[in-house]
Amino acid sequence: MTMEEIELVTIANYLRPESLSDAYKLNQKKTNRVLGGMMWLRLCSPRIQNAIDLSGLDLDYIKETEEAFEIGAMCSLRSLETHPELEAYFCGAIKESVRHIVGVQFRNQATVGGSIYGRFGFSDVLTCLLALDTEVVLVHAGKMTLAEFADRKRDRDILEKIIIKKDGRRVAYLSQRATKTDFPVAACAVSKKEDIWYVSVGARPAKAELAVIHGQPADTLAEKAVADMKFGSNMRGSAEYREAVAKVLVRRAANAVLEES
């Protein structure tokens, strides 16, 4: 895409609602949009009547409790990456899932809410968090699992926060990129709790999908995990190539999980 072909976002009014319920009400109009980090939205050339900025609503946080990590929608990807407790608890997998995304400056602005709410096919963050026991909290629909949210029809709700449970599962994340800082060609997160494997494969190039597999040995896990997943082709790779790479990544990630255990 050349610069001449990109039409950037236009905004008629810039609003800073004082509560999430006010933001929700404003967001019910199709011509209004909630702003995340603006990293992707800006390039999608929407004409926005009222831009809804949530940055005054104290949603930029990572809170650790006994049971979980709660992460506000406006928390940056860089904060996820550099949070020592998140890194220690999830074996560096979350850090690994974001550290290849463009650059530090980009990750200082891109938000967790924008990454998850967008349910983008290229999303490393969605791929990683799907393999963990993650829930999302929406202003209107309330709490649901991330897997349910990923499958849910797009509507005009607002993501308030995500909750990642500390359920003791071991996890590893791997991605392949054609070149540094690019979108992934294939991405996967593999986690294990007791004898249950959770395998999430993203950048197929459709949005990440989760396979939950009971009692499978690690060496045959990859074949089984991707068996029902559809892979597609785009400028970064063919469906066949993606599937082949995904299997290798799943196998390596599963071995890494076993080593962690």
């Binding site: 008629a12 990293m39 650059g103 400056q105």
Partner: protein
């Protein structure tokens, strides 16, 4: 709409359009070090510090500068001149177009990371593209700069 913030240590205010990006506002305020390279959030040329964090001004709505401290290369002349000498000595500057954003991110890195390894440096600076060089001169300049800073 009006936006008020600190620019290079001084209070600043401007009347902006709702879709004005920080890059355009800063250039209107005569901070010409801030440049548009790709405009698709990939090249790092428009890097400024927002409350101390390196950020892409091409993608940040100027409205979000409200109440924040914005620093451009114009506000970091002393550090920029010192590091710039290391860059020039290694022949790392060719066309020079990417240098302001690169220097901003090197300064941010030096403030954030303590004694970074080569891999950490490469990762921190991955979002700053240079299309003249192969980054070897820049890496030599950073290593020498770090050595001198460490010696002080």
């Amino acid at each position: 709409m009006e936006v008020k913030f600190q620019l290079n240590g001084k209070p600043a205010a401007a009347d902006i359009e709702p879709d004005c990006m920080l890059l355009d506002l800063l250039r209107d305020m005569r901070c010409y070090s801030v440049k548009r390279g790709c405009d698709t959030t990939n090249c790092g040329l428009c890097t400024v510090l927002v409350n101390g964090k390196p950020s892409l001004s091409c993608a940040m709505p100027a409205a979000r500068a409200e109440g924040k401290e914005i620093i451009t290369l114009e506000g970091l002349q002393e550090e920029a001149v010192v590091f710039g000498r290391f860059l020039a000595k290694e022949g790392a500057e060719q066309c020079g177009y990417c240098s302001p954003g690169f220097i901003m991110n090197v300064i941010a890195m030096m403030r954030e990371l303590k004694d970074p390894s080569i891999e950490e440096i490469k990762e921190y600076l991955a979002g700053n593209l240079c299309r003249c060089s192969g980054y070897e001169g820049q890496m030599r300049a950073i290593r020498n700069y770090m050595k001198e800073k460490g010696a002080q």
